[in-house]
């Protein structure tokens, strides 16, 4: 075979007779008409792949095809007779003709004509189709739904016909599973079958899209793209709090948030002006990437890697391009240069999160998301706090205060008390104990205030707190005191007070030496006497020095400890002797003349700022009064007795507020550093090899960004806006294609994550473009798009394949039949929960931990990881929808992974769909499925079936939405009889089977019956028809 590229003898002869006749020709478009012909017949040897290229000729690139070599060019624009290509494809010489006979490829006459007309019209090559903005072509006449008009025109061309409509019972199950991820109930099936209106399907779709379950189902697909999970993913793989983002995605679908907003919020919600809570939560999309907190990691490397992940994910999700190659080198196939890649990377490179996640639940920047109703509660508390503060203020005004420093003669030394613990743990103190703190009020023994704490225990027991702030200062001569009441009937053997100034090694005890902490007869365990008298309040006092607390020490914690018995505790604090005139806690003058630093510690942050560097002689009269009131309220020891109860009230309110804040969900959000990082091309994708500087921009082969604002650089919001401005050639196509893929199993572009030149060409390009443009014209209305697809004949038709249709179109790309495929991991589990009646429909919240075999997490986890041990949930947690299952990236749940759910370590546009023995074992034997089978069996037995046959028909109806035929019913009947006979002989086995799982078997049912039906239900739930969308 002569592959050389030379003049063909045939050309001249042919040229003459074909030179005319181009005038009638309709315009030929390269992408639409020509590329497929060249691709199918020529590119294998004359395409991109240099290795297999023959005759050094490329026909996929214009400059190559037009290049003249030895005076001959493959294509001469406008001149067929001079074009070697034309000569070769028409050559009668087997050594010259193209494609060569051994390739078994040949051009049809029609294809030849197309090529001819294309050359005659100037042989215009076009940019890669996906980089040209989609245009709406005219919808072919015929079918009402444009989808069908396009598809059926193609089918007609292929000599095929669309399949007849699927049976309504098949269709109704299909629609329910596709829109809600759950099967219809028998009642719902009945209702649909009974509705003969032509609008029945449309009504059903509208109804289903209103359901919470719709949002949950749609969100699941998006979470694969967003790589959402509940752990960091690397190293310790600790828990991260990201679930408010997951719940937002559900909400966004339920609210039918338009796709442009959906995009903007996620890529740049933080940059919107006055972003709402939801917009900020949505920006967490950018924070869903895996991160590490591994010791020894290099900061620069992880800043780089996190930015790469965010960039590549955004590009894959919205542009359907795999930008990964351009990290290291210019993209070999797509026009994306490394520089352009890093220009996009620059949008994400200044993220404010730390390079290492710190293995924390709440790696900043985070947002606290209040739970429903908590805003109102917080406001109510605020009002109460204001009222209490008002009461404090009026009490302060009423204080008749005379400064002891102004008295003559100066007063003598006195004892002052500072109460620290009264009716509550002091501010910021974290209450802990063997069992929680318990407070009682009168008529139980109470010494002062309104409450006392109490503890009744066997052996050693205590309640305590740490972390109190402000701390309790120890001065020279300080005595620690507390009031105690020992129960007469059940006195303790020992009581102990412990003080924490950073350590707990300061202990005082009374009574027997039962508690052996610290060293006996030292500051860490000193005896202060016998147990006090029972049945009355006694004041205990401890000299601070005797338990090793030196002046200047500060207490943050205090423990009330006992051995046996019942003990009440009340009012505790410190007392000390002092000169009133010199004591800043008693004399206003003494306080005022202190160094500023000492004064400051008594001031609030706001006051401290205002009075910074301002000496008392510079204070105005108003300022002096203000500070004096502050001092009276906060510092003056003489007022504390009166003020403490009100202050305690305030502390309690503050604590309630803090509790609400603590129960507030945390979610990672996106934010940029105030000063952006300079980005560089990273040579060969190495984090430590910066090359050329780059600035934020988009690739040149795509439409440009609008002019840069004068006052600032481009930011992520510009990037997001650019994606959804309606002119971007990729965004709408990619989105529409993914949704198509969701329902049909394969996208119109099969490579739904790759719209680049390496990706597959669209199967139905005009349909794809029509849908994409229409989607934009519909203001990116997702539900409208879904409805358009689901009401098409293509979707509603039967999925039955015949040998002929399989042979003709094995992948079903022409859609002469509906797709049929196995349900996704989550749908399989949710379906059995739903059919069994176990499903708990509670929405949202932190991920739950349903059944999981032992040793999924444990063998892979670090000892110090907080997700090392799987602690299975209880009750409802076992039966929630799968979207709410806690997802640990390094060890996802087997029910997910066995059925191809991704680990969410990276964005996943399309799941594979395997068919394995492991899946069979799981569906047959997993406790979740067996328990569901038993619950389904209970439903079957409790339904009003008259006999086995009626029950079989009902059960079949429930799981498949159709009636069994006689053979099917008979097979079930026989196997039921087998199982029943077996369990009648072995009732122990029957009881064992029905006890599997946390839910209890219905005691009204006979174990033998229930066990036999459980296996029948198990069989039904394993039917190919049930694990598939039909």
């Amino acid at each position: 075979m002569d592959y050389s590229f030379g003049m063909s003898s045939f050309r001249l002869a042919m040229g003459l007779c074909l030179a005319t006749g181009s005038a009638w020709a309709a315009p030929v478009e390269f992408n639409r008409d020509v590329r497929a012909i060249l691709s199918k017949n020529c590119f294998a040897c004359h395409g991109k792949d240099a290795k297999h290229r023959k005759g050094k000729l490329r026909l996929d690139a214009a400059e190559d095809a037009f290049a003249s070599k030895k005076g001959v060019a493959a294509i001469v624009a406008g001149n067929v007779s001079e074009s070697e290509l034309w000569a070769r494809i028409n050559s009668g010489n087997p050594n010259e003709v193209m494609p060569p006979p051994e390739t078994k490829k040949s051009l049809t006459a029609e294809e030849k004509q197309t090529l001819k007309r294309w050359i005659e019209q100037g042989a215009k090559y076009e940019k890669h189709w996906a980089f040209i903005a989609p245009k709406k072509s005219k919808v072919p006449a015929g079918e009402g739904n444009p989808i069908d008009a396009f598809l059926q025109r193609r089918l007609a061309k292929e000599g095929l016909k669309a399949a007849p409509l699927a049976k309504p019972e098949t269709l109704v199950r299909r629609v329910y599973l596709d829109l809600t991820g759950l099967p219809p109930t028998p009642k719902e099936v009945d209702a649909f079958l009974a509705n003969k209106s032509p609008k029945a399907l449309e009504k059903l779709i509208d109804n289903l899209m209103q359901r919470q379950t719709y949002g949950e189902h749609m969100a699941r697909y998006w979470l694969d793209l967003a790589r959402y999970a509940d752990t960091h993913g690397l190293h310790l793989d600790n828990e991260r709090s990201m679930w408010p983002y997951r719940d937002w995605v559900v909400r966004a679908f339920n609210q039918n948030l338009s796709f442009d907003k959906f995009t903007r919020w996620q890529l740049a919600g933080d940059l919107l002006s006055k972003p709402t809570l939801d917009q900020q939560i949505a920006s967490g999309f950018n924070r869903c990437n895996v991160t590490t907190g591994e010791g020894g990691s290099i900061t620069a490397e992880w800043i780089y890697r996190n930015a790469i992940d965010r960039t590549s994910t955004a590009v894959e999700v919205w542009m359907g391009m795999t930008a990964g190659c351009a990290v290291c080198h210019d993209h070999k196939f797509d026009p994306l240069s490394t520089k352009e890649y890093y220009s996009m990377y620059s949008f994400f490179h200044s993220a404010a999160d730390p390079a290492l996640d710190g293995n924390k639940l709440d790696t900043p920047p985070i947002l606290r998301v209040p739970r429903p109703g908590s805003a109102e509660k917080l406001a109510a508390l605020d009002a109460k706090i204001k009222a209490v503060e008002q009461r404090i203020a009026s009490a302060v005004v009423k204080i008749k205060y005379t400064d002891p420093a102004s008295q003559t003669p100066l007063p003598k030394t006195i004892t002052k008390e500072m109460i620290w613990i009264e009716d509550a743990v002091p501010p910021k103190g974290v209450a802990q104990g063997n069992t929680p703190w318990k407070f009682v009020s009168k008529p139980d023994p109470v010494f002062s205030g309104t409450k006392a704490s109490v503890r009744e225990a066997k052996g050693l027991s205590q309640h305590f707190f740490t972390g109190a702030n402000p701390p309790l200062p120890i001065e020279s001569g300080t005595k620690l005191f507390a009031h105690v009441y020992l129960d007469t009937l059940n006195p303790p053997k020992e009581i102990m007070l412990q003080f924490n100034d950073g350590t707990w090694e300061h202990r005082a005890y009374w009574g027997g030496d039962k508690i052996d902490w610290g060293n006996k007869d030292s500051v860490s365990r000193r005896r202060f006497g016998d147990l006090p008298e029972t049945g009355k309040w006694v004041r205990l006092e401890v000299d601070a020095a005797q338990v090793g607390l030196k002046p200047g020490a500060k207490l943050n914690g205090w423990a009330f400890t006992q051995f046996d018995g019942k003990v009440y505790w009340d009012k505790a604090g410190v007392s000390s002797t002092t000169h009133p005139a010199k004591d800043p806690a008693l004399s206003w003058t003494a306080w005022k003349v202190q160094a500023e630093g000492k004064r400051n510690k008594d001031l609030t942050e706001a006051l401290r700022k205002r009075f910074k560097g301002k000496a008392p002689d510079k204070w105005t009269e108003a300022e002096e009064t203000e500070l004096r009131h502050h001092w009276l309220a906060r510092v003056y020891a003489g007022a504390q007795k009166e003020l403490t109860p009100i202050k305690t009230e305030k502390a309690n309110l503050k604590k309630q507020q803090a509790d609400i804040h603590k129960n507030t969900a945390v979610t990672f959000v996106m934010a940029d550093l105030p000063k952006p990082r300079q980005s560089f091309v990273m040579l060969r994708g190495q984090y430590d090899s910066p090359g050329e500087k780059v600035s934020r921009n988009v690739p040149a082969f795509l439409p440009p960004l609008p002019a840069k604002p004068k006052e600032r650089d481009y930011n992520r919001l510009d990037f997001a806006n650019w994606l959804v401005d309606g002119k971007h050639p990729l965004t709408a196509r990619v989105a529409v294609n993914r949704i198509w893929q969701q329902f049909f199993g394969v996208g119109l572009v099969k490579t739904s994550a790759d719209f680049g030149t390496q990706g597959e060409l669209p199967m139905h390009p005009e349909l794809l473009d029509w849908l994409a443009v229409q989607f934009v014209e519909d203001d990116w209305d997702v539900q409208r798009l879904l409805k358009r697809i689901l009401t098409s004949h293509a979707y509603r038709q039967s999925s039955r394949a015949t040998p002929a249709s399989l042979k003709r179109d094995p992948e079903n790309r022409l859609l002469a039949r509906a797709p049929r495929f196995r349900l996704d991991a989550e749908v399989l589990r949710d379906q059995v929960l739903s059919l069994s009646g176990l499903l708990v429909s509670t929405a949202g919240g932190r991920g739950v931990r349903p059944y999981q075999p032992p040793n999924i997490w444990e063998p892979v986890g670090f000892a110090s990881s907080n997700t090392r041990n799987y602690k299975q949930g209880k009750g409802d947690d076992l039966y929630r929808r799968s979207i709410y299952t806690f997802l640990k990236r390094t060890a996802p749940a087997p029910f997910m992974t066995s059925f191809d759910a991704p680990s969410r370590e990276q964005s996943c546009t399309v799941r594979s769909r395997s068919n394995t023995p492991m899946q069979a074992l799981q569906l047959m034997n997993d406790v979740q499925h067996v328990e569901a089978a038993r619950n389904l069996a209970q439903r079957i037995l409790n339904a009003d079936g008259a006999d086995d046959n009626a029950r079989i028909r009902w059960a079949w109806w429930v799981v498949t939405a159709r009636q069994p035929d006689a053979t099917e019913a008979k097979i079930i009947e026989n196997v039921l009889a087998d199982h029943r006979a077996r369990f009648t002989k072995d009732t122990v086995a029957a009881k064992k089977l029905i006890a599997f799982g946390e839910s209890k078997a219905d005691p009204k049912l006979k174990p033998v019956d229930l066990a036999a039906w459980t296996l029948v239900a198990n069989l039904l739930l394993n039917l190919d028809e049930v694990v598939n969308k039909n």
Binding site: L234, H235, V290, E294, G296, I298, E316, T322, G324, C325, C328, F333, Q741, V746, G747, D754, Q758, S799, R800, T802, P803, S805, L806, K807, P810, E811, R820, F821, P853, P854, P859, V860, G861, S864, T890, P894, T897, D900, S903, Q906, V910, S912, S914, T916, P917, M918, L921, M924, N925, D926, I971, I972, V975, R982, V988, A989, A990, N1022, L1023, D1024
Partner: protein, 487 residues
Amino acid sequence: MNPAHEYHQLQNRRQFFQGAGLKMGGIALAQLLGQRTMATQATTTSEMHPALPGLPHFAPKAKNLIYLHMNGAPSQIDLFDYKPRLTEFFDKELPDSIRNGQRITTMTSGQKRFPVAPSKFAFERCGTSGIEMSELVPHMKGIADDITMIRSVHTDAINHDPACTFVMTGSEVPGKPSLGSWLSYGLGSESQNLPAFAVFTPTVKKPSQALFTRMWTSGFLPSKFDGVKLRSSGDPVLYVKNPPGVVPSDRRAMLNALGKLNQKTFERFGDPETQTRIAQYEMAFRMQTSVPELTDLGKESKATLEMYGPNAQKPGTFAHAALLTRRLIERGVRTVQILHRGWDQHGSLPADIKNQCMDVDQPTAALVKDLKQRGMLDDTLIVFGGEFGRTVYCQGKLTRENYGRDHHPRNFCMWMAGGGIQSGITHGATDDFSYNITRNPVHLNELNATILHCMGIDNSRFTFPFQGLDQRLTGVEEAHPVKAILA
């Protein structure tokens, strides 16, 4: 849709169209397309899991692979890379000319000194080959003449997570298929009753570094190429056990009915996947028998059990996993991987590494000997090693008796034995400090290329299109098998 999946679907269809066997009642399709093995009878698994066409690329030397991964990075300096001159350098600064400004982890980059810590363990030249090993691995000394010791392996990553991901998937970034998954995908399965790729993760005494399922899962390949983890407690294979109260005959009755009903579904929808599903349920049923049979050591001789050491019959130990590994290989399982944790000795290295070696030394040597005595070593390839090496300089306090070592990706030791690999040679060398490679470096990509070569695969032609790239186990750059160690 995933191209690999699709390929296999096509395969299924093709087999479906071309296969021989069964009468499918009155189905026009079956008559049209010929017959097919009755799903409820024994089917060959190659039907479900065939080799790719054209694979192996050439006659393989090894049919099976055993990969013993010492997770956490064992110290080459204390095990296999003998450096007698180090004693002179005890507690002396690592010369700058050696360290050469190389990157070190932030765990030791703050250290003021980098004092040299010589190994406290005695080395010996072993067998007739004279391969050097330390007293930590007395049993491995006995197999020195069966292995190739590579002292010059190097990797890119300096921390565990990326390095473990790299050693098993050829990429630091999660999401790529593991070596075993690649082999299952390319070469298919030969076992009728067991998965093609099995994994053990023995329990270890001390808390240690994590493992990642990505070290044995299939990344972008379909999940049926995942390694199946054989577990030490509960069911050895997930869900292999029937629910309480259910006996095999119950299952058989249920499966008979299920098969018939699914057959009817096939008649209704004509979906070839339904046929595959019928076959997979039958495979599952066979596994319910074959897996317990696999783990039943009753027929192992006393001598064999003794060879693997005192823990041979204790589930969850490395020894038990090693013995099961041989049984798996005997039963046609393509790849077995044991991932043994606990080798990350930043401190107290001498005591900890000794414990680790107690776990693995005897069973590892036994596995090689056992395979050899059964004539299985010729077509089984064994690989032993970690994800990187450890530094010659001490991390933390240094004494003659106690020291720690930080991560060192620049060189470390791995050994290989069996099908396709030479016996009794040492390949590559490092400087006096085991800090830089001086001869014949072997990058992990080249090591993987070598493994593939032994299995009859040309790594450059073994690709899978994903994210716009023809992905390879051995990365984007060319990687060549290490010719010098090939038999």
